[in-house]
């Protein structure tokens, strides 16, 4: 093989791998992206039942109800709207009423959000940025705990 051919093989295989990877990325984005919505979005945007999305907000005060076995019901609110959530499993340590929470799952036809994931945060003062931002956009004032400045960080 000449120098040119050798270089051609190298560049060609590089381009081939890169294009396979790009196809994979595009395909994976179509398949696996999950949108984030607040309870008001759910009310405003008329999200179809059965679509998978992330629902974030605050756990409404007084809404946590333990049911049979490990099933828990609670409401997620952005103080303007409320969505009832059902979750079977074990809640993260820092799940508490009045705290920020992000859940992932599907909306049922009856408007009940069936979550299969409730995201744990490691820090009691931590507010998921999406939740903080959408609460701010909705004009909700956050408590001092939500914008804690210097803190632990890894």
């Amino acid at each position: 093989m000449t120098r040119k051919q050798k270089r051609g093989v190298l560049i060609g295989s590089g381009v081939l791998i890169l294009s396979i990877a790009s196809l994979l990325v595009m395909f994976a984005f179509r398949e696996s992206i999950v949108f984030f919505h607040t309870p008001s979005d759910v009310a405003d945007k008329k999200i179809e039942a059965g679509t998978r999305f992330r629902l974030g907000g605050l756990v409404a005060d007084g809404s946590v109800k333990r049911g049979q076995g490990t099933t828990v019901e609670f409401a997620v609110t952005d103080t303007l709207a409320k969505v009832n959530v059902q979750y079977t499993g074990i809640l993260p340590d820092l799940f508490r009423e009045g705290q920020g929470v992000v859940t992932e799952g599907k909306l049922g036809p009856d408007g009940l959000f069936v979550a299969d994931t409730v995201l744990a945060k490691h820090d009691e003062n931590y507010m998921p940025p999406e939740v903080a931002k959408s609460l701010e956009e909705k004009g909700v004032k956050l408590g001092p705990g939500a914008q804690h400045k210097s803190g632990a960080g890894y």
Binding site: I17, A21, L24, A28, I33, F35, F36, P129, S150, G151
Partner: protein, 660 residues
């Protein structure tokens, strides 16, 4: 007083670093040996000052001096000593100080052990290294000073986040940072080479040990973080494709590629331009990792309280060094002469394939990590990219890499014989397939991809052994000669084989636990039983106890298998005093075949307690593999030919080499 000394030492370190940034580089321009020599002493003095500063902060933490804001915010007098020490880097300011300290350590190492480096190269490297230090010291002194006082001093500190009070996590940041910052050496050498417009195999021989050391630390650091997440977070997961994890994984991928391309450059004088580019990109990804973790622009389960304003400063630093490095690259790279021809099927060819796959994989992780940020910036739509994305893109790229891995070290430089190598690997491949079929038949149904991946893992492991055996010419020579040869193989050969074997072992652990894990969520009352993966658990009840700075509810489980006792598991829930935060301590029974894992949930209104029961097959192999990779790196570093400061090859040796 001690605090003021620390603060003063930090300011002095900035002054010294500024001098170190300007004087030696200027000296290199005007070829003045005295000016260049300033860099050496400045690097050592800067490191000494940073040690003083770091020890002063540690003193404040150990003695619980709450008049220091950082200590008051992040420590507590009741905390055990080890966590008061680890608390030094368990917060933003302190961890930045650790970052700069390690940067200073690497700079001092060049000054002390780099005597054989050409004087101008050493001067330029130290200058570039100092410019990074200057940027971060300015950042610390102006936006995140760890020595800031608070008046009046509180009587008690606010405490460290309890889930960080853990032995594995206490040492996770130092290793991670040693990795991140270690890649700064590759960056400094790359920029220095571009400034000089000259680069040769000796350059790669210098950069490789530093990159290897950084890579080892990063490997161990990431593994420690993963291990911690596994037992501390109570969900039994070991990797979540979370942005903060990806932030450390991207430099690892790029660093692994750099390690391999530097090998081609050292041995064959080829891939120069690419290696330089990779060196710049690897450190840029390290800086980006620091930025992502510190700024909190991405939603992460591992995100602790973060400060976006400081993130902007780190972003600026990152843009300056990445942009500056790449601009210099674009300007000067054309001057670098290309050399070393090779056929596509050759050791070089396989290392190029390694590089292409690793950097493309790194790019997919980058896209997946940053896409949500970009989309939100452009359309305002908020999305999350989770594990399914990464599984769909990253795994298909890793499969060919794993398949090609055993071939690489067996191929000859320049032009390899693929068929001969395949023959030598036939036994390893056949064995891998047989074992996989056996295990798959026993373990029952799982995803179709799992046996394939497991076979690849085994192939990599057996391939690494084949590499050693065939280097010692097993079969070609007598037994005594074979033994003599295998003992006297170069240590770098053992290092390579161990690192590759570590990957193979890790892959098996990943496949085992991802494809065949059992998960069960149950609610039990005292006296009730549950069963998972053949283990029988009897819940005996919950006892409250007290630890040094927490109260604890310990549940007791008697574990039996087929009627014979196995162990007693004691998972618990802790409530820490400061800050008042609960944590879950999982009860784990480790075994070679897998871990039995029990985590406590909430108490039920009916009187029982919710439980998460897992069986994670072969999960330990993941971390054992990482430790083997680390050991492989260590052994390779002790190889005489790789040793830092080893004399150059006779060809390029200067006339007079001082006796050692």
């Amino acid at each position: 007083m001690v605090v003021e000394i620390g603060h003063f030492a930090l300011i002095l370190a900035l002054v010294v670093a500024t001098a170190q940034m300007i004087v030696p580089m200027w000296g290199a321009q005007v070829r003045d040996a005295r000016l260049m020599a300033v860099g050496d002493s400045a690097a050592v003095v800067q490191f000494a000052l940073l040690i003083i500063s770091f020890l002063a902060l540690m003193h404040a933490f150990v003695t619980s001096d709450f008049s220091v804001l950082n200590v008051a915010d992040n420590s507590h007098s009741e905390k055990p000593l080890i966590y008061r020490i680890a608390g030094v880097w368990g917060n933003h300011e302190g961890s930045m100080l650790l970052w700069v300290l390690i940067l200073g350590l690497f700079g001092a190492a060049v000054a002390l052990y780099g005597r054989h480096l050409p004087a101008t190269l050493r001067a330029n490297v130290l200058g570039v290294q100092a410019s990074i230090a200057v940027a971060f010291l300015l950042f610390m002194l102006f936006t995140s000073n760890p020595f800031e006082r608070v008046d009046p001093a509180p009587f008690e500190g606010r405490g460290l986040n309890p889930i960080l009070q853990d032995p594995a996590l206490a040492f996770h940041p130092p290793f991670l940072y040693a990795g991140y910052v270690g890649f700064s050496m590759a960056f400094s050498f790359a920029v220095a080479a571009l400034i000089e417009g000259r680069i040769d195999a000796a350059w790669a021989r210098w950069v490789r040990p530093w990159t290897l050391a950084a890579w080892m630390c990063l490997t161990l650091g990431i593994a420690m973080g993963s291990w911690w997440a596994y037992y501390e977070l109570g969900w039994g997961g070991w990797w979540f494709w979370d942005p903060v994890e990806n932030a450390s994984f991207m430099p690892w991928l790029a660093g692994t590629a750099l390690l391999h391309s530097a090998l081609v450059m050292e041995k064959r004088d080829a891939l120069k331009v690419w290696t330089i580019l990779l060196a710049i990109l690897t450190f840029s990804l390290s800086l980006m990792g620091t930025f992502l973790v510190r700024s909190g622009v991405l939603t992460s389960v591992h995100a602790f309280a973060v400060d976006p304003d400081r993130g902007i400063v780190i972003l600026t630093i990152m843009m300056f060094f990445t942009g500056g490095g790449l601009a210099l690259f674009a300007w000067r790279a054309g001057a670098l002469r290309q050399g070393g021809l090779f056929a596509p099927i050759s050791r070089e060819g396989s290392l190029v394939l390694n590089n292409v796959l690793l950097s493309v994989a790194c790019a997919t992780v980058l896209v997946g990590t940053l896409y949500p940020l970009a989309l939100e910036g452009i359309t305002g739509e908020k999305i999350s990219v989770g594990p399914p994305f990464f599984n769909m893109t990253f795994i298909p790229l890793m499969l060919p890499l794993l398949f090609a891995m055993p071939f690489g070290p067996l191929l000859a430089w320049k032009r390899g014989d693929a068929r001969a190598v395949a023959q030598r690997l036939a036994f390893a491949g056949g064995l891998a397939v047989l074992v996989t079929i056996g295990v798959a038949a026993l373990s029952g149904p799982g995803p179709w991809l799992a046996p394939l991946c497991a076979a690849l893992g085994l192939f990599v492991l057996f391939g690494a052994i084949t590499d050693l055996l065939s280097r010692a010419r097993l079969g070609d020579v007598g037994r005594a000669e074979f033994l003599r040869r295998i003992i006297s193989l170069p240590r770098s050969a053992y290092g390579t084989a161990l690192a590759h074997a570590g990957i193979g072992i890790m892959v098996m652990g990943i496949v085992g636990t991802s494809a065949y894990q059992t998960e069960k969520i149950v609610a039990l009352k005292p006296g009730e039983r549950a069963e998972v993966a053949g283990y029988d658990l009897l819940f005996k009840g919950i006892t409250p106890t007290k630890g040094p700075n927490y109260s604890e509810q310990i549940a007791e489980f008697e574990v039996t298998r087929n009627g014979s006792p196995v162990t007693t598991l004691l998972p618990s829930k802790r409530l820490y005093n400061a800050p008042p935060q609960p944590t879950t301590e999982a009860g784990i029974y480790p075994a070679w075949t897998g871990d039995l894992y029990v985590a406590l949930g909430d108490e039920q209104p009916s009187g029982g307690v919710a439980l998460r029961l897992y069986f994670h097959p072969f999960v330990r192999f993941i971390w054992i593999g990482a430790v083997i990779m680390f050991i492989g790196g260590m052994i390779s570093l002790t190889d005489r030919r790789l040793r830092v400061g080893a004399p150059q090859r006779a060809r390029s040796r200067p006339a007079a080499v001082p006796a050692e």
